[in-house]
């Protein structure tokens, strides 16, 4: 192997070089911006985490698994996984091997960006060596892998279902430029290397190309043309990259350590959030996941598009899309880079200009009925519209001989979550304060909550001294395990719905199921637990109309009926009310279901 030219340069490398330079500069500036935007504390946190060996290792592992192998995608759908990793990893290997070759044969040129990339152009083969042929084979092999990936990618455009996707993202213009140039790169590389295979050598991919129409290919003019095209494709891709979804390639490298450092989103489009925004590959997995996708006209408001608008800083659309969202958190659950869309939306809402001059000075006038119960039961606003909830809870408490008091009999103070969801955290503080006063003053040791919405806010926002907040699913399951509450198993089949705030919100999946299993059989929903589908009633959404919600609910009900239950069970009065509008089978509250097992 030796160089073909004394000056190891040819003008065709320029497009690539320019693109490369552009991307590098762009990324460096971007990096600096993000870092600077971080609050001091976060910056320190990040810096520190980098030097903790465990963390450092985790970062490297994640980068390898997420950026190159796309493990999450493999789990989701092998074909999808292979498609992505073949391109990412294959390309990565081509680059690495290219460099290795350069190091071995022309260490002098290793400094030049372009040399490893266009290696085959600049080199000339003299004699076969085992080492040489290893590289030939390896390089062609990886080229083949990448090409297979590209082929799949093209196929995905026509038949997405094949990859387990119902809908994919509508690409922006720059996305398309990026996409097509990316598709072009490898076939062109193949052809280009094919041209020079006669001189520089090659293997099972490139030699055959060279074989056909030999003398056309050995013509130097044509050779450079081929390499020009290859370089131009690369250049185009590089220039498109920062403005397209392919920005996720470099961005993810920054995001991973940030995530591992445990940073929090403090602004919808600064620092940590910005890193996430750029890392979104707009794969569109969140579109299918979004309950709103039940009706076409709402597709355009799903997370992937929100991210795009945040990137463009289109305030009007940002707010509109955010206000519509049910805040069920499912998109985050399925997200490959687990983009914290919930937090980003909350930050957007907190900035939204609703001039609500909310005043809660009247709250002090609220004096709840005092009681001595060890357990303080907070039914919540919604429960007064589903009397069966409170009634069943009381039944069970009495059956277990628990000493209890209801805090909000005849109307109490709202827990504050609906307000927080409307981005009015500051105002919610008043309610939280007043409720805290009442709860701590009650002398109870347990705050029992029968509403998932309330439960989440009690968990996340309240600091209750000496009072344990428990959702009634946890609590009653506890009583059952301790044997304080005994239930008879009937022969009904219950399909349990995980309320968003309880499941994805607070990670409570098993307690309700264990408890229900004592009164009957479980009929799992099609998608459940972390994948459960919002009932559509969520107070999270501010602008969804009743009609839009109807579509969502109906879809969600279908999901619940998957394995033919006799009852749909939910542990949130809002879900209960929403479902019972459209469900063909009886919808019951968790406590109501448990009451089925009580001795009559």
């Amino acid at each position: 192997m030796r160089e073909r030219f004394l000056i190891g340069f040819d003008p065709f490398v320029l497009p690539f070089m320019l693109g490369m330079a552009f991307v590098l500069i762009y990324c460096i500036i971007g990096l600096i911006r993000v870092i600077l935007q971080l609050p001091k504390a976060d910056r320190r946190k990040l810096a520190a985490s980098l030097f903790v060996p465990v963390n450092a290792l985790r970062n490297i592992r994640d980068m390898f698994l997420d950026c190159l192998i796309h493990v999450k995608l493999w789990k989701r759908n092998p074909k999808l996984g292979y498609m992505h990793s073949s391109i990412a990893f294959g390309w990565f290997m081509l680059i690495v091997l290219g460099h290795v070759e350069t190091f071995i044969y022309v260490p002098g040129k290793a400094g030049l960006f372009y040399y490893p990339i266009f290696f085959r152009y600049f080199m000339q083969m003299e004699n076969y060596s085992l080492r040489g042929s290893f590289f030939f084979v390896a390089m062609d092999l990886f080229l083949l892998i990448v090409l297979s990936g590209i082929l799949l990618a093209m196929f995905k455009r026509i038949r997405k279902r094949f990859f387990g996707m119902r809908r994919t993202t509508r690409l922006s213009l720059t996305d398309r430029v990026g996409l097509y140039s990316l598709w072009a790169i490898f076939p062109l590389r193949w052809i280009a290397e094919g041209f020079t295979a006669g001189i520089a050598g090659g293997s099972f991919m490139t030699i055959p190309i060279n074989m056909l129409l030999k003398n056309f290919m050995s013509n130097p003019e044509n050779i450079t043309v081929a390499w020009w095209m290859y370089s131009v494709a690369l250049g185009t891709f590089m220039f498109a990259l920062p403005f397209s979804r392919y920005m996720h390639i470099p961005a993810e490298i920054l995001l991973i350590p940030m995530k591992n450092a445990g940073l929090k989103v403090y602004h919808p489009r600064k620092g940590f959030a910005l890193a996430q925004i750029y890392t979104c590959p707009s794969c569109g997995v969140c579109i299918d996941a979004c309950p709103m996708s039940a009706s076409r006209q709402n597709l355009k408001d799903t997370t992937v598009y929100l991210v795009r608008q945040v990137k463009r800083n289109n305030a009007r659309r940002m707010n509109a899309m955010t206000d519509k969202c049910l805040m069920c958190g499912k998109c985050q659950e399925v997200c490959q880079i687990n983009l914290q869309s919930y937090d980003i939306r909350m930050r957007i809402r907190e900035r939204a200009a609703y001039n609500v001059g909310l005043k809660y000075d009247y709250l002090d006038s609220y004096k709840p009925v005092p009681g001595k119960g060890k357990v303080l039961y907070y039914a919540g606003c919604m429960s007064s519209l589903t009397p069966v909830t409170g009634r069943s809870v009381r039944k069970l408490l009495n059956a277990a001989g628990v000493s209890w008091t209801q805090m909000d009999e005849g109307g109490g103070i709202c827990c504050g979550r609906p307000l927080i969801l409307a981005g009015r955290r500051r105002e919610a503080a008043d309610m939280i304060a007043r409720n805290t006063e009442i709860i701590e003053g009650s002398g109870a040791s347990v705050l029992l909550v029968s509403c998932a919405i309330c439960y989440r806010v009690f968990k996340e926002e309240y600091q209750l001294k000496g009072v344990k907040v428990m959702h009634y699913t946890e609590y009653f399951n506890g009583l059952l395990e301790e044997g304080k509450l005994r239930l008879k198993r009937g022969d009904l089949k219950y399909a349990y719905h995980d309320p968003c705030d309880l499941g994805r919100g607070c990670g409570i999946y098993d307690e309700p199921r264990e408890a229900l299993f004592r009164v009957g059989a479980l009929a799992p929903a099609k998608q459940e637990k972390a994948m459960s589908v919002c009932c559509g009633g969520s107070v999270g959404s501010l602008t969804l109309s009743d009609g839009d919600r109807a579509a969502i609910t109906q879809a969600s009900v279908v999901n619940m009926l998957h394995s033919g239950p006799d009852r749909i069970v939910t542990a949130c009065p809002l879900c209960l009310k929403t479902y019972s509008r459209y469900s063909p089978v009886k919808v019951v509250d968790f406590a109501e279901a448990l009451c089925d097992g009580l001795e009559k």
Binding site: S384, T386, P387, D546, R581, Y582
Partner: protein
């Protein structure tokens, strides 16, 4: 000469009246009722507005003379097949009827009150429905009615309510409520009776008199406001929340008895027949006639007729006259 068969599905007042009229025109009506008795909802009713005529008497009148009408109870339709000749109706008991024309008089269903959870039907001791009350008027037996002192009537339960998936007005509940309010006042003169309404739709002849009577004679108190939620007190009394919208004040009152005026929704069989025979249905779930004004009893299918409350809420007299009109339509069709 014996004229041809006509199959009538649904043995409520409408079905009975169609059959009687067809019989009088010399046809052989075959009246199929899935329940064990003829009469439909009329069987559960005690007295009828506006004059308070005895429902049993009316039913007796209707069913008194069914000579020439072949009627079958406990007859559930298995399938109806359309052929060039007409229709073949198969009944689960194995009977099969051939007929050139089929009339659906499948009627309605009362909105299941428990679906409005906030009113706590079947949860609170003292919440009943209009049907329950009629039952009580007939039998004077209902553990939930113990000499009530305050009684509330909630209008529009499951009607005019998107949340109940029924935007329509059920037409008859207002009149029923006023009738029942007066009747219960007769039984418990000491009681205070309230009607919670959104709009009082006293559209029929002398309904307004009934309303006036309820006010003047029985002192029923009408409150313009929809009951939003009901809760139960320790003593089993009901806490009813509503806004007196004319006064603009929210009110919370204790009640001994709450009567839910459940509305009229399409019967279960409506969906199944529209499947079976391809009859279109409106957004409200009732059968959609060929032309709501000119052809209210006809479907796109010339031999297939629809009459009575299966095409939307109607009062009894309206139902009966539609039945007679349909009989004539059928005659015109058959004698073509």
């Amino acid at each position: 000469m014996a004229k041809d068969n006509v199959v009538v599905i649904g043995g409520g007042p409408c079905g009975i009246e169609v059959s009687r009229n067809l019989r009088d025109m010399g046809y052989t009506p075959i009246l199929l009722e899935q329940q064990s008795e003829l009469g439909g909802h009329l069987r559960q009713w005690d007295r009828l507005f506006p004059e308070g005529v005895d429902a049993r008497k009316v039913l007796k009148e209707l069913t008194s003379d069914l000579r020439g009408v072949k009627w079958f109870t406990d007859a559930t339709i298995d399938s109806i097949k359309k052929s060039r000749k007409g229709y073949t109706v198969n009944v689960d008991s194995g009977m099969t009827f051939e007929s050139k024309a089929v009339i659906l008089t499948t009627g309605f269903k009362l909105f299941p009150a428990e679906k409005k959870e906030e009113y706590g039907y079947n949860i609170y001791e003292r919440v009943i429905t209009n049907a329950d009350l009629e039952e009580y008027f007939r039998t004077r037996k209902d553990s939930r009615i113990q000499d009530p002192k305050t009684i509330g009537f909630v209008h529009c339960v499951g009607s005019r309510d998107e949340k109940a998936c029924n935007r329509q007005c059920s037409k008859v509940c207002c009149a029923t409520a006023v009738k029942q309010a007066s009747e219960i006042k007769e039984l418990f003169p000491e009681a205070t009776v309230y009607c919670f309404y959104m709009d009082l739709r006293m559209f029929g002849r002398s309904y307004e008199d009934m309303y006036l009577n309820a006010q003047k004679k029985y002192g029923v108190r009408f409150i313009r406001g929809r009951v939003s939620e009901v809760s139960e007190d320790i003593d089993g009394k009901l806490f009813v929340k509503a806004e007196d919208t004319l006064l603009g004040k929210p009110m919370k009152m204790k009640m001994d008895l709450l009567v839910l005026m459940t509305g009229i929704i399409p019967g279960e069989s409506t969906a199944q027949y529209s499947e079976m025979l391809g009859i279109e249905r409106g957004e409200d779930g009732f059968f959609a006639p060929k032309d709501t004004i000119l052809e209210p009893c006809r479907t796109k299918d010339a031999g297939l007729f629809i009459a009575g409350t299966c095409t939307g809420p109607k009062t009894l007299p309206e139902t009966l006259s539609e039945a007679r009109a349909t009989a004539i339509q059928v005659h015109n069709f058959l004698s073509k």
